[in-house]
C-alpha cells in the first residue's frame, strides 16, 4: 500500500529558505571553527595512528596456521578448508609423516599450504570448518606486496603469522 | 582600428555565414551563426559602437542562439540528407544573388557620400547614454508600442501553452 507522506506546512518565513540557511550555516560554522582549532577531528591518520588497539574481539584479519605447545603442526591436511573456501584461495598439497616422527600417529601434515591473499575474502569459514583447530583468523590486516607472488602466503609464512597457540584440544597427545 | 582587423572580421563573418547554409548538421549551422554574430559584434566595436556590439553578443549569441541550439538538441535533428541539386533553383539562386550584388555595387559606387572619409571621433563616445536619450525622447512612442507588442506576445505564448496542457 502506498503511503502518502504529508508535506509539512511551512510558514511564510520558512518558505523563503532563509531561516533554514541561517541555521545550517550556524552548524557548519561551528564545526569549521572547532576543527580549525584542532578539536572534533574524527579521522584516524593511518600510517601514524593505527587501528591495532581499537580492534574489536571479533575482528577477522588474515588467516594463519598455528602450532601448539608441543611444537606440533596442528594441520593434518584434511583439505576441508580448501573445499569450503568460497573464493578458492586455499591450495593444500598433503604429505605423509615418516613413521619415526613424534607425531607419526597423525599420518598426514601439509607439504605445502598456500593462501592467495588476493582472493581471500576474510570470511572465516576455514577457521569455522577446521576439525583440528589449526587455522585461525588473526588480528593482522596489513598484507602488502609488489607482485602477485608476494601476495600468496606459503606454509612458512602462515606459521610465522600464526605462531604458537595454547589451550587447544590436544587429541593427538601421546600422554593421553 | 587597423584595416587588417576589419578584413579579418568581415571575412570571418562571411565565411561562417556561408557555412551556416552549407553545413548539413543543424548544430554546426547554429554554431557557425554564433561565430558570425561575434564577428559582427567585433565590427560594431571597431566603429566605437560598444553598446550595440555588446548587445549583439548578449542578445543574439548569448540568448537567442542558445535557445535555438537547445531546441535543436532536444529535437535531436539528424544531419540532413545530401540535397539533390536541380538546375532550376540553382540558376534562379545564381541570378537573384548576382542581381542583388550588382545592385549593391552600383548603388555604393554611385553614392558620392560613401567615398568621403569620415572624421575620426574626438574621443570615447558615451553611446549608451545617447542611445537611451534618443530612445526615450524622439522614439518614445515606437518604443512603447514595441514593448506592448512584446508583452502581448509573451502573454499569448503563456495562454497558448497552458491551453495545450488541458
Amino acid at each position: 500500500m502506498a503511503i502518502t507522506v504529508p508535506r509539512p506546512d511551512l510558514s511564510a518565513a520558512e518558505k523563503t529558505y532563509l531561516p533554514a540557511l541561517w541555521e545550517g550555516l550556524k552548524v557548519t560554522a561551528r564545526h569549521f571553527k572547532n576543527n580549525l582549532f584542532g578539536k572534533g577531528k574524527v579521522t584516524m591518520e593511518y600510517p601514524e595512528e593505527r587501528w591495532d588497539s581499537h580492534l574489536p574481539e571479533y575482528y577477522r584479519g588474515v588467516p594463519a596456521l598455528v602450532t601448539d605447545e608441543h611444537g606440533k603442526d596442528r594441520c593434518v591436511s584434511c583439505q576441508l578448508c580448501e573445499f569450503i573456501c568460497p573464493p578458492r584461495a586455499i591450495t593444500i598439497t598433503p604429505g605423509e609423516i615418516p613413521p619415526g616422527d613424534t607425531f607419526a600417529k597423525t599420518e598426514k601434515r601439509p607439504q605445502e599450504f598456500k593462501i592467495d591473499m588476493i582472493r581471500c575474502i576474510y570470511c572465516g569459514m576455514c577457521e569455522e570448518v577446521c576439525p583440528e583447530q589449526a587455522i585461525f583468523l588473526q588480528k593482522d590486516y596489513l598484507v602488502v606486496g609488489t607482485r602477485r607472488e608476494d601476495m600468496v602466503h606459503d606454509k612458512q609464512k602462515l606459521y610465522e603469522i600464526g605462531g604458537l597457540k595454547t589451550g587447544l584440544v590436544n587429541k593427538w597427545d601421546e600422554k593421553k | 582600428m587597423s584595416p587588417a582587423l576589419f578584413w579579418f572580421f568581415s571575412l570571418m563573418m562571411i565565411a561562417f555565414a556561408i557555412l551556416v547554409v552549407v553545413k548539413r548538421n543543424p548544430v554546426a549551422s547554429a554554431l557557425s551563426l554564433v561565430v558570425s554574430f561575434i564577428g559582427l559584434a567585433a565590427l560594431f566595436v571597431s566603429l566605437d559602437a560598444y553598446f550595440i556590439g555588446t548587445i549583439q553578443i548578449l542578445v543574439y549569441a548569448g540568448a537567442v542562439m542558445v535557445l535555438f541550439l537547445f531546441i535543436i538538441m532536444l529535437l535531436d535533428l539528424k544531419a540532413e540528407e545530401k540535397r539533390v541539386v536541380t538546375a532550376a533553383p540553382l540558376i534562379g539562386g545564381i541570378v537573384v544573388g548576382f542581381t542583388f550584388l550588382t545592385l549593391l555595387i552600383r548603388v555604393l559606387a554611385g553614392n558620392a557620400n560613401g567615398k568621403l572619409p569620415m572624421p575620426a571621433l574626438p574621443g570615447p563616445v558615451d553611446d549608451v547614454k545617447r542611445v537611451g536619450e534618443l530612445l526615450f525622447s524622439q522614439y518614445n512612442l515606437p518604443l512603447q508600442i514595441i514593448g506592448t507588442l512584446l508583452l502581448v506576445a509573451t502573454v499569448g505564448v503563456v495562454v497558448l501553452s497552458k491551453r495545450e496542457l488541458k
Partner: protein, 393 residues
C-alpha cells in the same frame, strides 16, 4: 630605445596587467580547489589533504615537510597532465575537443572588465576599462553556456546530455533575474563602467552599506551627519538586489545548492561524465574561475570593490575616509589587497553554502528563478524608480 618600439610602448602596462591578473586568477583557482577540500573537511570533522608539501627527502633530508598540504594543487595539476587523455569512440570529436576550451575562456575573459584596484603608478588597475563593462561581463557570461551545452551534446551519452540540457536551461533562466536585479543599481548610479561604479561607491558609500560618508561629532556638540532618508530608503531595494544577484551567481556557476547539471546521485558527472585528464581539468578550472569571477563581480557591484573606508578620529569627530592610489603607492597596493580579501571572503562563503545546503529539486529551481526572483526583481526596479522620483539627487 629604438624608434620602432615607441608606438607600441602603450601596450606594455596592458600586457603586464593581463599577465599578472591571469596568474593571480589561476593561482586563486588552484588554491580555491585546495580551500574547498579543506573547508569541506573541517565542516565534516575530517582532516582534508595534509600530506603534499616540500619533498625534502629527495634532497637528502630525513623528513618531508608537509606544511598542511599546501602544495596539493601542484600535485593535482601534475596528475591531470599525466593522466591518459581518453576520447571515447562514440563522441563527436570536433565539438568534444572544443567544449572544454569554451568553458574556461569566457570564465577568464570576464575578469578583464573588473577593476581590481584604484590606481598604481598612475595606471588604472583594470585590464579593459570599457564604458559598457557591465554589459560586457553579461555578454561574455552568457556565451559561457556554449561550452557546457556542447560538452553535453557532443559526448553522446544520456548523462552528459541531461546535464547539458539542465545547465543551459538553468543558466538562461537565471541570467534574466541576474540582469534585472542589477537595473536598480544602474538607476541609482547612472553608470555602466565598472570602474566608475566602484568610484561612485567609494565616495557615496557601498551599495550594501551606503553610509561611508558618515560623520559623528561629539565635541564641542553632539552631531551626526551623512545620514539621509534617500540613502536609507534606497538601501532596501539594494539588499533585495544583492540577495537575488548572489543567488543567481550560485545558479550561473552551477554550484551547490544549484549544482543539478552535475548532480552525482542522478547524472554520474553531468556534462563532463565522458571527459578525463586535462579536458576534465578544464571544466574544473572553468567552474572555479567562474566562481571567482562571480565573487569579483559581487564585490565590485555591492561591496565597494577595492574601496576600504579608513576610520579617522579627528577633533572629536569620527569619520570614514577614502584613500586611493593617488594618495601614494602604498594606498594603491592596499586597495588591491582589499579587493582580493573581499573576493576570498566571498569564495569561502560560497564554499560554506555548498557544504551546508542540500541540492534543490529541479522544479524548485525553476520556480525560484521564474516565479520569485524574476517578479521580485521587476517590482524592485519599479520601487527604485518611484523612490528616485521622490528623492532626486
Amino acid at each position: 630605445m629604438p624608434d620602432f618600439i615607441q608606438p607600441w610602448l602603450f601596450l606594455l602596462p596592458i600586457i603586464i596587467k593581463v599577465v599578472v591578473v591571469f596568474a593571480v586568477v589561476m593561482g586563486l583557482v588552484a588554491y580555491a580547489s585546495l580551500a574547498e577540500r579543506k573547508v569541506s573537511a573541517f565542516i565534516q570533522d575530517r582532516v582534508g589533504p595534509n600530506r603534499v608539501g616540500l619533498p625534502l627527502t629527495l634532497l637528502g633530508f630525513k623528513k618531508d615537510l608537509a606544511i598542511g598540504g599546501l602544495f596539493q594543487p601542484l600535485a593535482d595539476g601534475l596528475k591531470f597532465l599525466l593522466k591518459e587523455d581518453l576520447t571515447p569512440g562514440h563522441v563527436k570529436p570536433f565539438y568534444y575537443w572544443l567544449a572544454p576550451a569554451l568553458t574556461v575562456v569566457p570564465a577568464l575573459l570576464t575578469i578583464a572588465a573588473v577593476p581590481f584596484g584604484s590606481t598604481l603608478f598612475g595606471y588604472k588597475m583594470v585590464v579593459a576599462d570599457i564604458n559598457v563593462g557591465f554589459l560586457f561581463v553579461f555578454a561574455i557570461a552568457s556565451v559561457g553556456v556554449y561550452g557546457i551545452v556542447m560538452a553535453g551534446w557532443s559526448s553522446n551519452s544520456k548523462y552528459s546530455f541531461l546535464g547539458g540540457v539542465r545547465s543551459s536551461a538553468q543558466m538562461i533562466s537565471y541570467e534574466l533575474s541576474m540582469g534585472l536585479s542589477l537595473v536598480p543599481l544602474l538607476l541609482v548610479m547612472g553608470e555602466l563602467n565598472l570602474g566608475k561604479i566602484v568610484e561612485y561607491q567609494a565616495w557615496h558609500g557601498w551599495t550594501l552599506l551606503p553610509f561611508t560618508d558618515l560623520r559623528i561629532q561629539w565635541s564641542p556638540h553632539w552631531e551626526i551627519s551623512g545620514l539621509n532618508w534617500r540613502e536609507i530608503l534606497l538601501w532596501i531595494p539594494m539588499l533585495i538586489s544583492f540577495v537575488i544577484f548572489t543567488t543567481a551567481v550560485f545558479a550561473e556557476t552551477n554550484r551547490a545548492p544549484f549544482d543539478l547539471p552535475e548532480s552525482e546521485t542522478e547524472l554520474v558527472g553531468g556534462y563532463h561524465t565522458e571527459y578525463s585528464s586535462m579536458k576534465f581539468a578544464c571544466f574544473f578550472m572553468g567552474e572555479y574561475a567562474a566562481m571567482i569571477t562571480g565573487c569579483a563581480l559581487i564585490t565590485t557591484l555591492f561591496l565597494g570593490g577595492w574601496h576600504l573606508p579608513i576610520p579617522i578620529i579627528h577633533d572629536g569627530a569620527f569619520s570614514l575616509q577614502t584613500r586611493t592610489g593617488d594618495h601614494g603607492t602604498l594606498w594603491g597596493i592596499l586597495n588591491i589587497l582589499t579587493f582580493l580579501g573581499k573576493v576570498i571572503f566571498l569564495v569561502i562563503f560560497f564554499m560554506f553554502v555548498r557544504w551546508t545546503l542540500p541540492r534543490f529539486r529541479y522544479d524548485q529551481l525553476m520556480r525560484l528563478g521564474w516565479v520569485w526572483f524574476f517578479e521580485i526583481a521587476l517590482a524592485n526596479i519599479v520601487l527604485v524608480a518611484v523612490l528616485l522620483a521622490f528623492f532626486p539627487k
